[in-house]
Each structure stands twice: as C-alpha cells, then as structure tokens.
C-alpha cells in the first residue's frame, strides 16, 4: 500500500507534535505537513507564500483540520477547499476539542468527510487518529 501525505492544520504545537508522532509511529502516513493556521493551510494548498515553489508542498491525500484556528478558521478553509473543483476530492477530517452538535453539523454542511474529537485519554485519541488515517489513506489510494 502506498502511504499518503497528510496535511495537518493545527495551531496548538503540542497537539500537532502528538498527532504527527502518532501518525508516524503507526506508519499511517508517508509524510505529515503541519500548517499552524488557516492562512498557512491555504498557502500550502495553493502554493503561495513560503510554499511558492510548490516542491515542498505535495498534494495531500488527507487533510486533518482543526476547527478553531487563528487568522482564517477551519470552516473557512473547509469551505474554500470544498468549493474548489481541484481540491474537492481530498478528504477532510475535522478535529475538535468539543463535541458540540452545532459545530459538527456545520462542518458536515460545509463538506467535511468525518470528524474526530480530541479526548483526554491519549490512547483513545491515538487509536482514532490511526484508524482515520488508515481508512482515508486506503480510500484515496484506490484507483
């Protein structure tokens, strides 16, 4: 199975590090790229700013998108990606700290493919991230 590249959009560096670690530990992803905010995530996707030459920003097989982000929030990023025919096919999984129904509903309405809440128990979280990565990795590697 060909491992996919994952774009992780997460403003909390600790969480970013943990998620990256989990994904790497379980060999879910080929490479995990981290964007610290919504603006950076869009720069990555559209090869702007520091991702200008495009070589350090390969097209990801999965986007893990935190909802609460500085500058441009997760919903805006989600909306942009899902309204762009070029990126529409990339699966987006929302990351939230709460399981507020209205947030999740809004995410799905904007075209998110799934969501993960960040539980306090790390093992549980690791397990979820792992399965999400494997699932979407498999889906996107299908012909």
């Amino acid at each position: 199975m060909k491992l996919i590249d994952i774009l992780l959009v997460e403003d909390n560096p600790d969480h970013a590090m943990l998620i990256k670690k989990v994904l790497e530990n379980h060999r879910v992803a080929n490479k995990v790229y981290v964007a610290e905010n919504g603006a950076e995530a869009l720069d990555y996707m559209y090869h702007r700013g520091k991702y200008g030459n495009g070589s350090d920003a390969p097209r990801p097989g999965l986007v893990l998108l935190d909802i609460k982000l500085p500058k441009i929030d997760g919903f805006a990023v989600l909306k942009q990606l899902k309204s762009d025919p070029e990126h529409r096919s990339i699966p987006v999984v929302m990351l939230t700290t709460s399981d507020r129904d209205e947030e999740i509903a809004k995410g799905y309405a904007e075209g998110a493919n799934s969501y993960v809440t960040k539980p306090v128990k790390f093992d549980e979280f690791a397990e979820k991230i792992k399965s999400i990565g494997l699932y979407w990795g498999l889906i996107s590697s299908l012909p």
């Binding site: 909390n12 600790d14 969480h15 943990l18 670690k21 700290t97 709460s98 507020r100 129904d101 960040k118 539980p119 306090v120 128990k121 790390f122 093992d123 979280f125 690791a126």
Partner: protein
C-alpha cells in the same frame, strides 16, 4: 366587564312599592268616604220625606174629617214647592183620593187624579213608612184623629180636663213622592269628587316617590358605576357626592378603598417590573456563567490533551529508561490528568444541559432503564446488586438522552453508595402516576445520606466525604439541572444507614397520543 343596566332597578322597585300603601289607603279611604256620604244623603232624603208627610198629615186632619177637598187642596198647595217633590196624594180610609198634586201635572181636580205617574200603591202598616224605588222615595203617613171621651160623672166639673187617653182613629193617608234625580246628581258629584281626590293623591304620591327615589338612587348608581370602573382597573375617578347621608359615607369608604387598591396595584406593578428585570438579569448571568464554564472547560481541555499525550509517549517510548519510582510517578500524572479530564467533561455536560435544545420524542422509560443497566452491568454484577424495576413503566414524551442521563446518574449513584458490607444490595426503580406529573424513584438499601446533606447533594462538586467513591460529584447537579429544565422537581428521602430514595417528577406536558396525532 361592561356596566349592565339592571332589569329591575332600585328606582323602579322603590317607585313601585313605596306608593303602593298610599294607593291602597287612599282607595280604601275614598270608598268608605263615598259609602258614608251616600248613606247620609239617602238618610237625609228619607228624613225629608217623613217630615213632609208628617207635616201634611198633621194639617190634613180637619180636611179629612170633614172631607173638605178645597181645604185639602189648599194644604197641598202650601207644600208644592218642597224640594224634589213629585206628587202628593191624600186619601180617605176607603182609599179614595180626595186631593192630589203632581209636579208634572200641577194641581189637579179630584176628577183628573186617577193616574199620577210613578205613584206606587200605598201599603198599610206603620204610622209612617218610606219605600225607595229606582226613581223616587215614596212616603206614606197615616192621618189620625183623637176622639176624647168626656168623663160623664164629672161633666159639670169644669176644672176636670178630658181623659188623658183618647181613642186614636185613622181617618186617611197622605202619600208623597220625592224625586231621586237631584240626589243622584249630588251622589254622582260626591263620587266624582272622591275619585278626583283619590287619583290626585295617588299621582302626587307616585310623583313624590319617584322624585325622592331618584335623589336616593342616583348616588347609588354613581357608586355602582365607580365600582364597575374599578373592576376594569380604572382607579383614577373617585366618586363625588353632594349628599350628606350614609351613601356619602359609603362613597368615602369606597374612595379610600380605591386609593388603597391603586396604591397596592402600583406597588405590585413595580414589584413585577423589578422581578422581571431581576429574572432577566439572572437568566443573563446564568447564560454568561454557562458560556464561561464552556469556554473555561474547553480551554482547559487542550493542555490536558497534551499532558496526557506526552506522558503516554513518555511511558511507551522511554519507559525502559525509567525505574519503578519514575514509572509510578508518570502513572500518577496520567491518573490525575484523567480525573481532571472527567471533571472537565462533567462541567461541559452541565453547561450543555443548560444550553442544549430539547429533542422530545416518545420515550419508553423501561427501555431507557434497561440501556442504563446494560451499561453499568459489569460493576453491578461484581457488586451482586439485585435490580428490581416496576413492570409497567410509562412511555413519556421527553428527551431520550436526558432521561437516560437522569437514570444513569441515579442508578450509578445508588450503586456507588450501596455499602461495602451490604448482604443483600438492592436497587429498585418505579414510579407513581399523578394527575399532571409522573413521580419516578430510584431506591437503594445502601449507606444512606444524613439529613444535613440533603440540600447540598444537588450542588456542583458535592461529594460526600464519608465514602471514597469514584466520580466527580457533579452527577446530581446535572440531574437536577435536567429535571429543573423539564419543569419537574427532585428530592431525596434518606437517613444515614437507612438507604436512599431519590424522587423526581416529570410533567405530563401532553398526552403522547395527542402529540403523535398533532404531528
């Protein structure tokens, strides 16, 4: 309320009943007056008739004795101008008319007196009698003479008078007729006068009554209008009366009452406004508190995730580098972060209960309880707790998730405090069917709760110190919040060592079938 015109007004009643005795009295008076007057008139007629007849008979004695018609005619002629006189007839004892007079015919010769109109046939009998016919009074009086016998023995004794008792002999009759026409006229006059006086008196009585009653009733009507206005909430128009009687006193009391009412209404309105403001403030600060709790717990959660994650990575990736103590310390870190996580979750849940929208549906309570028991099964089985549920738990229209939360918290609490040395641990679930509410209960035979804690168990972060039990102590706070939100009540019946029964009510807001039909 609109001021209604009374069907039988006070004025009408007074006007009707007050003159009634006056009317009756004046009717009775006038009728007795008429009767009395008529009798007097009649009696006067009779007396008049008798007097005339007697007078005639007195003067006719000589004429009859000698049967001198001319003398008798002369006597009659002297009486023809008597009032109301219709006729005079003088007869001898053999009923032969010797002289006569008729007002219609004038003085008549004997020959012509054969048929005088209206003359009834004289009747014999007493000395003087009067009969009454439709038109006239007929008086007949005997004419008598006294023949005195002389005492023969004392014929020569001049000083001896005649015997005192003489022989009385009837020598004829005098009959007269008196016309009733003038009497009838005057009787009519009397009646008419009496009727006019009566009618006048009655009219006057009624008019005066109406006038007086009007004066008396108008203030009462004013009062009634004012009372009507008060009942519509108009306190601004006091009653003004010019009279100085009891009604004025009543009106003054009424005005004072109205002023007091107005004052207390204003006060009530003021209180209501203040209460509204306070309620608004309270609900706003409640919302703020909810939002605050949500934000705080949310923000607390992020570092906790990191703490957990890194300590977990520490164990898994560098566990080999740590000695037993080091491993134990990391484990303590993990346990405590886990506990903090649960606390934060519960706080979030508490704020969510306050904010979340109800999603009502028909909920089979027995199903909910079964779900809860399934969830708690491992622990309950380990405890050996017996579970008893009433057979016919109702189907209620409510939010399933919340009902589940209620029972989950109550049953797990019951199991938590069932007591370590309980030989027959039992938890019962049931309900009572009220008019507007279902009262559910969860009863255990555990360690019980002392009465002094009964209020505080529903507070946030209240955990009884006596038992080292797992959980955050927020379960009952969450349950109370849910029950409060649903318009129910929750209370506790327990004593230390006597087990605990938690009661809570849920309103039957509407019949399930009605709701289903409505949808």
């Amino acid at each position: 309320m609109k001021f209604r015109k009374p069907k039988f007004s006070l004025a009408a009643k007074f006007s009707l009943f007050v003159p009634l005795p006056i009317v009756v009295a004046s009717l009775a008076l006038s009728s007795s007056f008429i009767k009395h007057d008529l009798m007097q008139i009649k009696a006067a007629m009779v007396e008049h008739g008798k007097a005339v007849a007697r007078g005639l008979s007195y003067y006719s004695e000589y004429g009859l004795l000698v049967e001198n018609k001319a003398a008798l005619c002369g006597i009659i002629a002297r009486h023809t101008n008597e009032k109301d006189l219709l006729y005079i007839v003088i007869r001898n004892t053999s009923e032969k008319i010797l002289a006569g007079y008729s007002a219609e015919l004038g003085n008549m010769s004997i020959n012509t007196i054969t048929n005088i109109p209206h003359v009834p046939k004289p009747e014999g009998g007493s000395e003087c009698r009067v009969i009454e016919t439709d038109f006239l009074y007929d008086a007949v009086c005997d004419v008598v003479t006294t023949r005195r016998r002389r005492n023969r023995k004392n014929l020569l004794q001049f000083d001896t008078p005649f015997d005192s008792a003489g022989e009385v002999k009837k020598i004829g009759t005098v009959q007269i007729g008196l016309s009733k026409s003038s009497m009838i006229v005057s009787m009519r006059q009397v009646k008419r006068d009496a009727v006019w006086v009566t009618v006048g008196a009655i009219t006057l009585a009624i008019l005066v009554t109406i006038l007086v009653v009007g004066f008396m009733v108008r203030p009462i009507e004013k009062l009634a209008m004012a009372a009507g206005a008060v009942s519509r909430g108009d306190f601004d128009h006091p009653v003004k009366l010019s009279s100085r009687d009891e009604i004025r006193n009543l009106a003054e009391s009424f005005n004072r009452m109205m002023a007091n009412l107005k004052k207390s209404r204003d006060e009530n309105e003021q209180y209501a406004r203040e209460l509204e403001i306070k309620t608004e403030e309270l609900s706003r600060s409640n919302e703020e508190l909810n939002a605050f709790v949500y934000t705080v717990s949310h923000d607390l959660k992020a570092p906790l995730v990191s703490l957990q994650g890194f300590s977990s990575l520490l164990t898994s990736n560098y566990g080999d580098c740590l000695d037993a103590d080091g491993k134990m310390y990391v484990e303590r870190i993990q346990k405590n972060t886990e506990r903090m996580g649960t606390l934060i979750e519960d706080l979030l849940e508490l704020s969510r209960v306050g904010r979340a929208k109800r999603q009502d549906e028909p909920v089979d309570v027995s199903e909910v309880i079964s779900d809860v028991i399934d969830e708690l099964a491992p622990k309950l089985e380990k405890q050996g707790t017996r579970l008893i549920m009433k057979d016919d738990m109702p189907i209620i229209y409510c939010d399933r998730t919340r009902v589940n939360q209620i029972f989950s918290n109550l049953i797990s609490n019951a199991s938590k405090y069932i007591g370590e040395y309980n030989e027959n641990p039992t938890i019962e679930m049931g309900y009572d069917d009220g008019d507007d509410y279902y009262t559910f209960y969860v009863r255990d035979n555990g360690i019980g709760i002392d009465e002094k804690y009964h209020e505080s168990v529903f507070g946030i972060l209240q955990q009884l110190n006596e038992v080292e039990a797992e959980g955050t102590g927020m379960g009952l706070a969450i349950v109370k919040r849910i029950v409060d939100n649903f318009g129910g009540k929750i209370w506790i019946d327990s004593a230390s060592g006597k087990g605990t029964t938690m009661y809570f009510t849920l309103p039957k807001t509407a019949n399930i079938h009605d709701r289903e039909e409505a949808e």
